[in-house]
Point group: C2
Chain length 103, copies 2
Amino acid sequence: MIKVSVFYANREGMRFDMNYYCEKHMPLVRRLCDAAVKGIAVEQGTSGGEPGSAPQFLAMGHIYFETVDAYRTAIGPHLNEILADIPNYTNIQPTIQISEVKI
Amino acid sequence: MIKVSVFYANREGMRFDMNYYCEKHMPLVRRLCDAAVKGIAVEQGTSGGEPGSAPQFLAMGHIYFETVDAYRTAIGPHLNEILADIPNYTNIQPTIQISEVKI
């Protein structure tokens, strides 16, 4: 199983509409990628390790696929539609990481 | 539910023993924090969004707790023991983020 993580860095002046992300954007991704999506997770950053410190990421979204090939095949035809939706919920330029799920 | 994410940044010369992390370190954390731990996840970074690009993080570990208070209460008495185990699997200074699980 692989996990595609999308990180939204926490910097001054950045906005992120968590309701839109959870209720519109992630369902859009799930619908477009359909059965290839094995799971979805979303988190909102609250702090760093120290109480009251700033979190590194304002938000993180994760989508699970069986393989990297399954991910690229599923997302490829819909990438433009997914990217075009980003300004509807954030002005952050996200970074993406693909990871292998170990546990 | 909250998620405590531990990020191991991917920089040159860094080592990370994934077997030790999965088979020794995470079980240690789970044993010490006991019933407060609601779930554990571990991923190994394989790439960024572009094929062949470097992942931002070599590894990520995540531990789920009901609340931030439950996390601090559970980890507090054992923090030194947990920190002392880190050099056994990596020379990376990890960063921590606490997030609220939305989905």
